[in-house]
């Protein structure tokens, strides 16, 4: 009993640790924890700033409305489609580039610097650049495709069957360097003895890749894939906002842009909060899976 009470008293060292953390904790409480809780509260409320109706509690009404709304289902489908196409694409490209960097090539550091550029520059700048490349009349992409392959000009951003692919191309351009760097770091951690041993045993390069590289990288590959899946599903905003604005006719609307649009353009705060809560929930599920997987791989 006495011991249990002793635990309530902190040692001087522990108290010093708490003092050091307190200022950061106060700021986080205001800008992080409070807004998150407030967002949950909002998602159970109806509050339309545009029509001037005051905030009122409506339980799960917002969520029910969303799941019966055709637009929201389209947005969910778009987000899923974007994730399922862009993540494997950037993964394969990133892996090819990482394997290339792992070879004996000249000027490797300069190449890495140049190839990381899309990741460094502002997503907004990258998106503006692509928007200008995609332009119908003045755009360089239509011009090149016409000169090289004799193709008719394409409405990259306003054809509802094509716009999503334009968003995907721009996003893959931005995010592939992340894949490349993380996979390259993973490749470098594989001990060279493993390759030497495989060589002695007479393994072909494909066999070395299949039986040495892939198994040694399993954990890095999984974590890289999971990080990008979480990001693609829950954080795509700048590129869509700039290139298509979610259009045409919601063809490129995804969860984050839709939450912003409903909440702060149409000012249906409760409904917007509910969309962002659904996004958060998806992220939470994916994070849990990732922590399980990376922990399982480590032990």
């Amino acid at each position: 009993m006495a011991r249990k009470f002793r635990n309530l008293y902190l040692t001087k060292k522990e108290r010093f640790g708490i003092y050091l953390v307190t200022p950061a904790l106060i700021v986080l409480a205001v800008v992080y924890i409070y807004p998150l809780i407030y967002n949950v509260d909002l998602s159970f409320s109806r509050w339309d700033l545009a029509s001037g109706i005051p905030k009122q509690y409506v339980a799960f009404q917002n969520y029910q409305n969303l799941f019966s709304s055709e637009t929201f289902r389209k947005v969910l489908y778009n987000t899923l489609f974007f994730t399922l196409v862009s993540v494997p694409l950037e993964f394969v490209l990133g892996l090819i580039l990482a394997l290339m960097l792992n070879q004996d090539i000249k000027g490797k550091n300069a190449i890495i610097t140049v190839l990381s550029l899309p990741m460094m520059i502002a997503p907004v700048v990258a998106a503006l650049t692509w928007k200008w490349v995609y332009a119908y009349d003045y755009g360089v992409l239509n011009f090149l495709l016409n000169r090289l392959f004799g193709m008719e000009p394409i409405l990259w951003m306003s054809d509802k069957n094509i716009a999503m692919y334009s968003v995907i191309i721009a996003d893959v351009w931005i995010t592939t360097p992340f894949m490349m760097l993380i996979l390259y770091a993973g490749l470098q951690m594989i001990p060279t003895e493993l390759y030497e041993a495989a060589k002695v045993d007479g393994a072909s390069s494909w066999q070395m890749f299949r039986y040495v590289t892939l198994p040694s990288m399993k954990n890095v590959l999984l974590v890289a894939l999971m990080i990008r899946t979480i990001d693609a599903f829950t954080k795509l905003f700048d590129v869509v906002y700039v290139i298509t604005g979610g259009g045409p006719a919601y063809a490129t609307e995804v969860l984050p842009t839709y939450a912003y649009k409903v909440g702060l353009k149409f000012f249906r705060l409760g409904s917007g909060a509910a969309i962002s809560m659904i996004t958060l929930l998806v992220a939470a599920i994916l994070i849990t899976i990732m922590l399980r997987v990376s922990k399982g791989g480590r032990s």
Binding site: E14, V21, T113, I121, L128, D238, P256
Partner: protein, 281 residues
């Protein structure tokens, strides 16, 4: 030098061609859009909208850069970006380093959960904050102010700083601080000693958070309203809504100027980036 001529087998040649083919294709895909942005910015404004577009400008002009400061309050926007990023950096680095040091050296009951929270927080979608942060900044009268955006940027700057700085403090041996404590130094003094040793780490953290805050768009879009506080990304995207014709010359010129600090800093931390990404996992 006695360079003997090497014998290349057919397989070696195919391998080399394939390897450098991939290198060239990758470099081209990365550089071409960037080249197109830059070359547009140095064309005379009336030649930007030529059909078909000119791949190589036949005449170089800096008129777009001049017009950038006339059409947009670009200097003001650039200053806003600097103030907001600087503020977020100072707030994040000071409070974040203190907290990181505390978590690294003086663990307390519950500090493990705090660390776990910090790691998870980096993966939480920021859109979950957008509406409440908008309401909060409105209520605190911080809408359209630098301080409002600085607070919003703390959402990602602070956890990131704590997480990164903790890993740097963890790498520094404790012996020096312990010796200083035995010699009668105060705990604060010992912390300053550790901080000095962690300076390279602090520099890396500062650059990475600078990039994050400098490039941020969504929170700045929600909180800023007028040129008084609009950052460069918000102002550039705002140009898309101009009637008649989108001023692509101005947008590309602004994009380039805005990217210069990024290129300079990116060059310095290039070798740390991969390490930082791997560090957390």
């Amino acid at each position: 030098m006695t360079n003997r001529r090497k014998e290349y087998s057919f397989k070696d040649v195919v391998y080399k061609v394939l390897l450098y083919g991939i290198v060239c294709a990758a470099l081209f895909s990365v550089l071409f859009p960037l080249y197109w942005m830059f070359s547009t910015s140095i064309k005379p404004p009336q030649k930007i909208f030529s059909i078909p577009p000119k791949l190589i400008p036949d005449e170089i002009s800096f008129e777009n850069y001049q017009r950038l400061f006339e059409v947009m309050p670009f200097l003001r926007n650039f200053l806003n970006s600097l103030i907001i990023t600087g503020g977020a950096l100072i707030l994040g680095l000071s409070l974040g380093s203190l907290a990181a040091y505390g978590l690294s050296r003086y663990p307390f009951p519950g500090s493990r959960y705090f660390i776990g929270l910090i790691i998870v927080s980096r993966m939480i979608p920021y859109v979950a904050f957008v509406i409440p942060i908008f309401l909060l900044t409105t209520n605190l009268n911080l809408i359209d102010t630098h301080l409002g955006v600085i607070f919003a940027h703390s959402i990602f700057v602070l956890p990131f700083t704590i997480w990164l700085m903790k890993s740097f403090f963890d790498e520094i041996p404790r012996d020096i601080e312990e010796a200083a404590l035995v010699d009668g130094c105060s705990r604060l003094r010992a912390m300053l000693i550790a901080l000095r040793l962690a300076l390279p780490g602090l520099g890396t953290t500062a650059i990475l958070t600078f990039l994050d805050s400098w490039n941020e768009f969504m929170f700045a879009l929600v909180i800023t309203r007028t040129p008084a506080s609009q950052t460069v990304p918000v102002a550039l995207v705002g140009q898309l809504e101009r009637p008649y014709q989108v001023p692509w010359g101005v947008i590309t010129a602004g994009s380039f100027l805005f990217t210069i600090p990024v290129l300079a800093l990116g060059y310095f931390i290039q070798k740390y980036v991969a390490r930082t990404f791997v560090l957390g996992w």
